[in-house]
């Protein structure tokens, strides 16, 4: 939009594989960093930062699920369970052993990856809807195990309070502090995901997604890569769960029930399967759009409805509008918001000469 790619010739493979092939994209990236690191926390108040925080945490989970569903073509309806695995691992380590977040966060992710790889075993034999049911079972099994194992859940209430994350003795308490915390890990997750999908690993995933038999014939070890996909995806989910735990200050498996799995699946599908940017868009769409719709209906609803019925109208209308928008966007572009954005960009790339 702002720039032309014409005349930009690459002479080495390194240049061809660069993340930011054009100088201008590098500038844009730098501007984005300044915007999110400096301007956003300075300008916006706690309420906006809360929304940012929730979006940032959701991005991590959506990225993980997209690696599995979008890139490897294996469906999972049990992702919230992997989040709870990460959450309880970190919460137990943090509350019982007093470990800091930079230990509990990766360990929570690794535990989720381990459980995820086990849950991924059925994917070696079954696909599609059958795999969906198998992962659905894993969601229920993991929930049940947490609920019935006091050593994990910390007692009947199944909730473990964790201290706020601290860096060099400084406790991250306010929304602004936690914003940096979540931003750092969300950025790390985006970088990791971008680099995973353009590596040998990512290409193997895509090959499996497109035609697993062909992938096996050209020498991709399906057993290995499917399990790796499950493990990586669950690692992201686990980290997402840990971030939720630190953000809420409590691990509670009731925050990670099947509805959450469905929400994350919705993010990935609305955002765009097989797209990192799509995961980000999807996380924003599902997390922030209900808030925007509610605010708009509240604001303009007073002119239409009686104030006494307004709360009930707002609650219901929000769901109606949100649902309609999902259908609208998916009808306009079945491949999701990321594809929609690409279409717009491609249109303007050659504008005003469309051929």
């Amino acid at each position: 939009m702002l720039y032309r790619e014409a005349g930009n010739f690459k002479t080495t493979y390194v240049k061809d594989m660069a993340l930011f092939p054009l100088p201008l994209t590098r500038w844009v990236a730098a501007a984005l960093v300044i915007l999110f690191v400096v301007i956003v926390p300075l300008v916006l108040d706690d309420w906006y930062l809360t929304n940012f925080n929730l979006i940032l945490i959701a991005i991590v989970g959506a990225l993980g699920l997209n690696i599995l569903v979008g890139y490897t073509g294996q469906i999972s309806i049990g992702h919230a369970a992997f989040m709870s695995v990460g959450a309880y691992t970190a919460a137990n380590l943090a509350s019982k052993l007093g470990l800091p977040f930079w230990v509990t966060l990766p360990l929570g992710g690794l535990m989720a990856a381990f459980i995820g790889a086990i849950v991924g075993i059925p994917s070696l034999r079954i696909k599609g809807t059958y795999l969906a049911i198998a992962t659905l079972a894993s969601q229920l099994i993991i929930e049940w195990i947490i609920n019935h194992t006091p050593a994990i859940s910390g007692g009947a209430a199944a909730s473990i309070e964790v201290p706020r994350p601290a860096i060099f003795g400084y406790e991250l308490n306010s929304q602004g502090d936690l914003y940096y915390f979540n931003l750092f890990f969300a950025a790390l997750a985006i970088m990791a995901a971008v680099n995973i999908v353009r590596s040998r690993l990512g290409r193997a995933f895509v090959a499996i997604r497109d035609q697993d038999i062909a992938a096996e014939i050209i020498g991709i070890n399906i057993f290995k890569y499917k399990l790796i996909a499950f493990a990586i995806s669950s690692f992201f989910a686990g980290v997402c769960g840990v971030l939720y735990t630190y953000y809420y200050g409590i691990a509670n498996y009731e925050s990670f029930q099947i509805v959450v799995s469905i929400d994350f699946l919705a993010m990935v599908i609305i955002g765009g399967l097989g797209s990192i940017f799509g995961s980000v868009l999807g996380a924003i769409f599902v997390t922030a759009l209900p808030v925007v719709i509610r605010t708009l209906v509240e604001t303009f609803g007073v002119y239409i409805w009686d104030p006494s019925t307004l709360p009930s109208v707002v609650a219901s209308l929000r769901l109606v509008i949100f649902g309609s928008l999902i259908i609208f966007f998916l009808v306009v572009e079945p491949e999701g918001l990321a594809r929609l954005w690409r279409n717009i960009r491609n249109y303007f790339r050659v504008w005003p000469f469309s051929y």
């Binding site: 309420w47 909730s159 809420y248 925050s255 509805v259 604001t299 709360p311 009930s312």
Partner: protein, 417 residues
């Protein structure tokens, strides 16, 4: 790539900003703001769809009578569909709108907010849900259950059964059928202690989520275990299913008592109606029925505006009255806070302190004889037992509480963890 993200966010932020700006402009100067979370559209809408309008009705009634010490009450309601992230967003929104009190709804939501409430010095209530440990005012200074927790409900249930079975539970058998989630398992420890104290035996029967499948458990209870009494702690659609199953197996329902979320008119009707479920006992943390002066006032208010009073007042008085009670406790605390400040605008901390000075809730017999102390934010754990009889709910016992030492012991144990 991520550049599009900013414009998206920008658009969203601008839209939201527009909304907030116009919302804030409407606010008058002498006004207290309450943030209210609600679930009208999620899995517990059976509660929210009645409780939330009732809440607004009571607030409207107070406002129509001049408000609280000259302050009008403004309620900002946010529906969170029983999801946690929207509840967090709601909390910050309430803060931003200058709320001095937050009416939280839902167990996972209060868990996720319990830390923030203390950090942000925002008082909140959790009537009938949330962890029983929240009654410990020293540990959670900003949370007020203000209604019998599941622990207290268990003590009331056992005490009631004791009186029904002739004053002694020695050698008796009690079946506890519960929803297999943290809330369902919470009173198990209390039940165990009581069984040792009173010398009865008990067995537990877990009903897995979503609680619509319990034929096996009910068969086990009615034909094999054959207890002297059944305690049911079920939610959502489960109570109705339980009533059908027990009745279907020929179990006399006057040997069964349900916890607070298993005993609304909606549950009884879904379970086959009042005639079919005659005899069933329920525990209530607010009064049932229409015979309370405050409800008459609300009806009069509607009539004055030329409108019909809400149908839920009759059709689901259990939930309706809980909404009224919830609003009444909160507004009373805010009124006391304003009074304590000599008419100045109270802060969240003032409201918190005022909760501990509540003497009576101004809705008559609809409210329990609450006595909140700095240690006991539950207010004594009072409950009433009502029975389905002759097509309606009939009060069986007045406000009662029991075995408070057991509760104290459990609170102390939980605090040590």
């Amino acid at each position: 790539m991520t550049r599009k993200m900013t414009s998206w966010l920008g658009g969203a932020a601008a839209a939201a900003l527009l909304g907030l700006a116009s919302g804030a402009a409407l606010a008058a100067d002498k006004e207290v703001v309450i943030g209210m979370q609600c679930d009208r559209t999620g899995p517990t809408q059976i509660v929210g769809a009645t409780l939330c309008p009732a809440y607004h009705d009571y607030v409207a009634l107070v406002n129509s009578k001049g408000g609280l010490e000259g302050y009008k009450v403004k309620v900002i309601e946010i529906d969170h569909e029983y999801k946690v992230p929207p509840a967090i967003e709601a909390h910050e929104r309430f803060k931003k709108e200058g709320a001095i009190f937050e009416s939280v709804y839902g167990t996972p939501q209060i868990s996720a907010l319990i830390k923030k409430l203390t950090e942000d010095q925002m008082a909140a209530t959790s009537p009938g849900f949330g962890s029983a440990a929240a009654a410990d005012g020293k540990r959670y200074p900003y949370v007020f259950p203000v209604a019998a927790t599941y622990w207290s409900q268990m003590t009331v249930a056992v005490d009631f059964i004791k009186s029904k079975l002739g004053g002694s539970l020695k050698g008796k058998k009690i079946a506890y059928i519960f929803f297999d989630n943290p809330a369902g398992k919470e009173p198990l420890g209390v039940l165990d202690d009581l069984s040792k104290m009173e010398g009865f035996t008990y067995r537990t029967f877990a009903v897995p989520s979503p609680g619509v499948e319990m034929g096996a458990q009910v068969l086990d209870i009615t034909t094999r275990f054959r207890p002297d009494f059944v305690i049911a702690h079920l939610f959502a659609k489960a109570p109705a299913v339980a009533l059908k199953e027990f009745k279907g197996k020929g179990w006399p329902l006057n040997k069964m008592i349900g916890f607070v979320w298993a005993g609304s008119e909606a549950d009884i009707n879904a379970g086959g109606g009042f005639a079919r479920n005659d005899g069933y006992y329920t525990i209530q943390y607010a009064g049932v029925g229409k015979d309370y002066p405050v409800l008459k006032e609300i009806q009069a208010m509607y009539k004055k505006e030329g409108k019909e009073p809400p149908a839920a007042m009759d059709a689901n008085s259990v939930m309706y009255n809980r909404g009224v009670y919830q609003a009444a406790v909160q507004l009373e605390a805010i009124r006391l806070a304003i009074k304590a400040k000599g008419g100045a605008m109270p802060t969240g901390k003032d409201v918190r302190d005022a909760f501990e000075t509540i003497k009576t809730v101004p809705v008559g017999a609809l409210a329990p004889p609450l006595k909140i102390t700095p240690e006991d934010h539950e207010g004594g754990g009072w409950a009433q037992v009502w029975q389905v009889k002759g097509g309606k709910f009939v009060k069986v016992t007045d406000w009662k509480h029991a075995y408070r030492d057991v509760i104290k012991k459990h609170l102390a144990e939980d605090a040590k963890k």
